[in-house]
């Protein structure tokens, strides 16, 4: 009897180890040995023929054998299950190099993105954002800015006229006068006015009959030229990065005194490339015009230059976008090719 059990043990152990290659076979082995009609069960049944003193001893052996075989089966079962799962996973392998499913979000226009950035910078500094009509009167577009008829500086801005006295605005500066008029005289103003402007320029890589400008105006008691300088330096660093430097050159605008043109250091070559395509070797790029508001401009809009002073500036959004994105042809902005539009984020 003992012999038989030992043999069975041996046989079962081998069968579990070798024969069982999947869970089903393992279960067959289990049934064959431990099932109701299984070999160990039949041995157990034969125990009734044993003597009373042998019974507990053999019983113990049988139970031990049973426990051992069950443990082996459980162990094998785990092993097979792990194997089966890994086979399943292997069979589920996909080509992870295939592109992901595209989410079709659109894109804001690069000029909107640039303008949003500028707006954000000034909103943080407490500026309001003002607007004005695109079709303006000669008064607001020129005269209120100290540019009487026949002023030679009008040549700088060849205009599209609608009548002798109505034109599409050549600059966003008319919003200056309109904003001042809408305020209590001498009350403080911090504003920018972005918008479309129009000049009678041929359409080429750097000119367009319509383009986008941002006008700025700050009026308060004790506003100084140095405040203008600091504000513009801050703006240029925010837009072009911490290393951007500003250079102010004296200039002339009828609506400011003193006036300045502002250059930003070339972000392509930092002034180190005599053949730089962007700055042509000068190291500087003209970026905006500015100055202290002319006393006559303040007076015309009901402000008293003896009480308050202010600065104003104007910049072309296309120019800033071209420099920040490295775009070399202004016409791309109004061409609206989707392959262009979809690049900007």
């Amino acid at each position: 009897m003992e012999q038989k059990i030992s043999e069975l043990r041996q046989k079962a152990s081998e069968a579990i180890k070798n024969a069982a290659t999947n869970l089903k076979e393992l279960d067959n082995i289990r049934v064959k040995i431990l099932g109701k009609k299984g070999e160990l069960t039949s041995i157990l049944r034969g125990m009734s023929q044993l003597s009373a003193e042998d019974r507990p001893r053999i019983g113990k052996i049988v139970n031990e054998a049973r426990a051992q075989i069950e443990a082996l089966i459980a162990e094998k079962n785990d092993e097979l299950k792990t194997k089966e799962l890994s086979n399943k996973l292997a069979s589920e392998k996909i080509d992870v190099t295939l592109p992901g499913r595209k989410i079709n979000a659109g894109h804001l226009h690069p000029l909107t993105l640039t303008l949003n950035r500028i707006k954000e910078i000034f909103l943080q500094m407490g500026y309001t954002i003002e607007e004005g009509p695109e079709v303006e009167t000669d008064y607001y577009n020129f005269e209120a800015l100290n540019l009487p008829k026949d002023h030679p500086a009008r040549d700088m801005q060849d205009s599209f006229y609608i009548t002798e006295d109505i034109l599409v605005r050549t600059q966003t500066s008319p919003v200056q006068a309109r904003t001042m008029e809408s305020h209590e005289p001498n009350s403080p103003i911090r504003m920018i006015a972005p918008g479309r402007v129009y000049r009678r320029d041929d359409y080429d890589a750097s000119h367009s009959p319509m383009f986008t400008q941002v006008e700025g105006l700050v009026i308060d008691k004790g506003i100084r030229f140095s405040d203008l300088k600091g504000t513009l330096e801050h703006l240029l660093k925010e837009i072009f990065g911490k290393n951007a430097k500003a250079r102010l050159r004296p200039s002339f605008f009828p609506f400011t005194e003193p006036s300045t043109e502002v250059d930003v250091s070339c972000m392509m070559c930092h002034g180190n490339d005599a053949n730089c395509k962007v700055c042509h070797g000068s190291g500087w790029l003209e970026i905006l015009g500015a100055g202290m508001v002319h006393p006559d401009v303040l007076k015309m809009s009901g402000y008293d230059p003896k009480v308050v002073s202010g600065f104003a500036f104007g910049m072309g959004v296309e120019r800033i976008a071209m420099l920040s994105y490295g775009i070399d042809d202004l016409r791309l902005f109004y061409d609206n090719d989707v392959r262009f539009l979809q690049q900007f984020k």
Partner: protein, 811 residues
């Protein structure tokens, strides 16, 4: 304006490079656009004498020259020019020269004969060929016989010069002269100018006042008219130095009299004119307004008709020239001229500007008058011109000056305090420093008290009249670089933008998330666009604002519809094979209050969107269906949801540019929120697009009117909802929207929402019917509904749709 540095050096010491000088001037508000080296490309060009000239053994037109270029050996050069002769002195480009026209000179052989350089033509050296004899225009440039041999050609050609090209601002008329630039440059480089002494000997017995009468009939346009009379005039070429100075200024030499008037204009900034005295009828010059239709025979020999009101200088019979713009034909200086009347006048800048624009002629003189000349210095200019002509023995000078100056300019003084200047600039510049700067610039200190400094503005500075102008003078000479950087102090307000601006930003960001790309297009349009868009002949949209002076015929109008612009952009993309396009734009359109225009038009902010092509980007796992009407409608619905517009109706609608069966209007009462539709195939065709295009158009202000100002979240339901499906057969032409409306109206108090989940036509259904299937949801906020309650509501709905649409319940 351009100025030769040689000329500047005549009057001041310059010990920095022209580039450094240009930088200093630019940074002080006298912008130098370019520094041009006149000798560029002439480094290896020398003068050489043709010692021997032989025919080329193998060529009919080539000649072999033995050139003396100042070295021990003769240089053999082959030339093809026919105008060379033995003994002539010519410019020789040596091997290694890189000429101004880009040509590089190397050793070579011409038909087997060695050639070690090139004889140069005027054109190859980029010289002005206008006044050369014909053979020299095409052939080699022949130098005068006394030219030294073997010296750099740039020296004998007067090209050892550096030209500064200025782009002067409109306020600095005073810098439109060599004197003006010297004045600024001297201040900036700490030099003292050494200006020429201007003096004239009146060596003719005749008195100018006996010879010529000057009159000013238009004192508002001519504030001063001064003249001198020169007799015994000998017309001829000017001396080389004058010609070279003019060449440096970009002005061609003509004859001594004209050259001198130009020389004085560039040197002193005062434009001048010379009249042939014998041709001045009545010996009178009158500055008067032209009469409308008056004949003007100008020195370019063209007959012009006066518009009327232009300033002319007239003699006793007729206008003898457009003042400050162009002289008259008859009184021009010619070989026959014996007596000259010199004019130095001051004309009104605005008037000169109008005339020169009308005539289309911008001259050196008109540019100076436009910016304003120093009218107190006309006599200095006359004296200088007389002096120069006298120095070259070209005339005698009559006694006296005829000067009409009805309202002499009063002195301008400005009072300021150094504190005011420092306060305006944000600086701490010392008073002495300010005074020093102003004095060097020609300001005179009238008085200096602790309360104010009073200065007299120099007569040439028409641009300075107040403290703020003084602050600029101080700032630009100190250097803007030396002004500190600060930020405004004072009460900081909260930055904000208007509701409309916020709303526009919000719409843009929603549309972007919905796959739309933002475009920006011009505000202009043209009438053919209305035809292409099928705009009805009597539509208000055709009444567009016209531009008086459009750039081209492409854009003579301001647009009245944004849809045309977005169609143009779609068409441009389509023509480039970008067939999958999703665009939107927010921009104003312009409608006149009346035509012709008398006041500013109404500007209305519009939103337009367009989709065509694939719904999804092309890709291995992407759907390749094309968009349809419901994609466009879905975008509008989603937009409205995101900008909090709800409870609108959607109705069948019509639009001139849209498909008659595929156009819908989103409405709130009578207000149209948006029109959505498929572009009419005929319209698409007129844009050369053979694809279905879907668009929508909306008005921003109308949308803003209906957007909910406050949004409150809805509590999550505590009790479960009960749903019932309703599948009905109705006539095919019944709009699902109508059915939905009836369901909603009859669904009772527990109604939550209704979703159309299936639309079916085809098999098992008769041809004139369609099946619509809805899921209707019922829910209570305070208890769980019973099935009976849901069934009751459902029965009412069913009865209503049966009654309203003759609907049949599908099982």
């Amino acid at each position: 304006m351009q100025v030769s540095t040689k000329w500047l050096k005549d009057y001041m010491k310059i010990d920095i490079s022209p580039e450094e000088l240009a930088e200093k001037l630019t940074m002080a508000g006298i912008p130098v656009e370019n520094v041009v080296r006149a000798d560029e490309g002439l480094e290896k060009v020398v003068t050489g004498k043709i010692e021997k000239l032989e025919a080329h053994p193998d060529s009919d037109h080539l000649q072999v020259c033995q050139m003396n270029v100042g070295t021990n050996e003769l240089l053999q050069i082959v030339t093809g020019a026919p105008n060379v002769k033995q003994g002539q002195i010519v410019p020789v480009a040596l091997v290694g020269a890189h000429l101004p026209n880009g040509q590089k000179i190397s050793k070579g052989k011409l038909r087997g004969v060695a050639s070690n350089g090139m004889l140069c033509s005027a054109d190859e050296l980029k010289l002005d060929i206008e006044n050369l004899p014909v053979e020299q225009k095409v052939g080699i440039y022949i130098l005068p016989e006394d030219t030294p041999i073997g010296v750099p050609a740039k020296e004998v050609l007067g090209l050892d010069d550096v030209i500064l090209e200025f782009e002067l601002t409109a306020n600095r008329g005073d810098c439109f002269s060599v004197f003006g630039i010297v004045r600024e440059a001297a201040v900036l480089t700490n030099q003292t100018p050494n200006l020429p002494k201007i003096e004239v000997k009146e060596d003719d017995e005749s008195k100018a006042t006996d010879l010529i009468k000057i009159k000013i009939d238009a004192p508002d346009l001519c504030s001063r008219f001064s003249s001198r009379v020169l007799k015994n005039v000998k017309l001829g070429p000017s001396p080389a130095w004058i010609q070279q100075r003019l060449q440096g200024a970009g002005i061609r030499a003509i004859n001594n009299v004209v050259d001198v008037t130009n020389f004085v204009m560039v040197e002193l900034g005062q434009p001048m004119h010379a009249y042939d005295y014998d041709e001045v009828k009545g010996h009178i010059l009158n500055a008067r307004r032209a009469v409308e239709g008056e004949q003007l025979h100008t020195l370019d020999d063209s007959n012009r008709l006066a518009k009327g009101g232009e300033l002319v200088i007239a003699d006793a019979e007729k206008a003898a020239g457009l003042a400050g713009v162009m002289g008259g034909f008859e009184t021009e200086i010619t070989e026959k001229t014996k007596t000259v009347v010199l004019e130095a006048a001051s004309f009104n800048g605005a008037s000169i500007r109008r005339t020169s624009r009308a005539v289309g002629l911008h001259s050196e003189a008109s540019g100076r008058f436009e910016r304003g000349v120093d009218e107190t210095k006309t006599i200095r200019a006359l004296d200088r011109a007389a002096q120069l002509l006298q120095d070259m023995s070209a005339c005698t000078v009559c006694k006296g000056i005829v000067d009409v100056y009805p309202n002499p300019k009063s002195e301008v003084t400005v009072a300021f305090t150094p504190e005011q200047i420092n306060q305006r600039l944000g600086t701490e510049i010392e008073t002495d420093k300010m005074i020093d700067i102003l004095q060097k610039l020609g300001f005179e200190i009238v008085s200096k008290t602790p309360s104010a400094i009073k200065v007299k503005v120099p007569s040439w500075r028409n641009d300075v009249s107040m403290m703020e102008d003084i602050s600029e003078e101080v700032a630009r000479i100190c250097g803007y670089d030396n002004i500190p950087s600060t930020l405004p102090v004072g009460v900081t307000s909260q930055g904000h933008q208007s509701d409309v601006q916020n709303f526009v930003d919000r719409i843009k960001s929603v549309l972007v998330t919905l796959g739309m790309n933002e475009e920006l297009s011009f505000s202009f349009t043209n009438p053919t666009m209305f035809d292409k868009m099928n705009v009805p002949a009597d539509s208000e949209l055709r009444k567009a604002v016209p531009i008086m002076n459009p750039l081209t015929d492409d854009y003579p109008l301001l647009r009245t519809t944004l849809l045309a612009s977005i169609m143009e952009n779609a068409a441009r993309n389509y023509s480039r094979k970008n067939e999958d396009v999703k665009l939107f734009e927010i921009a104003p359109v312009f409608s006149p209050k009346a035509l012709p225009i008398t006041e500013q038009p109404i500007e209305t902010l519009k939103l337009a969107g367009l989709i065509m092509g694939r719904r999804e980007d092309k890709g291995w796992s992407q759907n390749s269906d094309e968009v349809d009407f419901y994609d466009m409608k879905g975008i509008v619905e989603e937009l409205f949801d995101r900008i909090s517009i709800d409870k609108y109706t959607v109705e069948v609608s019509e639009h001139f540019a849209m498909h008659p069966g595929k156009t819908a209007a989103f409405k709130k009462g009578k207000d149209v929120l948006a029109t959505v539709g498929e572009i009419h195939p005929a319209v698409a065709n007129s844009f050369n697009i053979s694809k279905k295009i879907y668009v929508f158009e909306a008005d921003i202000k109308t949308l803003l009117k209906y957007t909910a100002k406050n949004f409150k979240y809805e509590q999550l339901p505590k009790y479960p909802a009960i749903t019932r499906d309703l599948a009905i057969l109705v006539d095919k032409n019944i709009a699902a929207g109508e059915v939905k409306k009836i369901i909603t109206q009859n669904a009772g108090g527990y109604f939550k929402d209704v979703t159309l989940f299936d639309v079916y036509t085809g098999e098992h259904i008769s041809d004139d019917k369609k099946s619509l299937a809805f899921t209707i949801k019922f829910q209570s906020t305070n208890r769980t509904l019973t099935d009976e309650e849901a069934d009751e509501a459902f029965t009412k709905i069913l009865a209503a749709v049966k009654k309203q649409f003759n609907a049949e319940l599908r099982s």
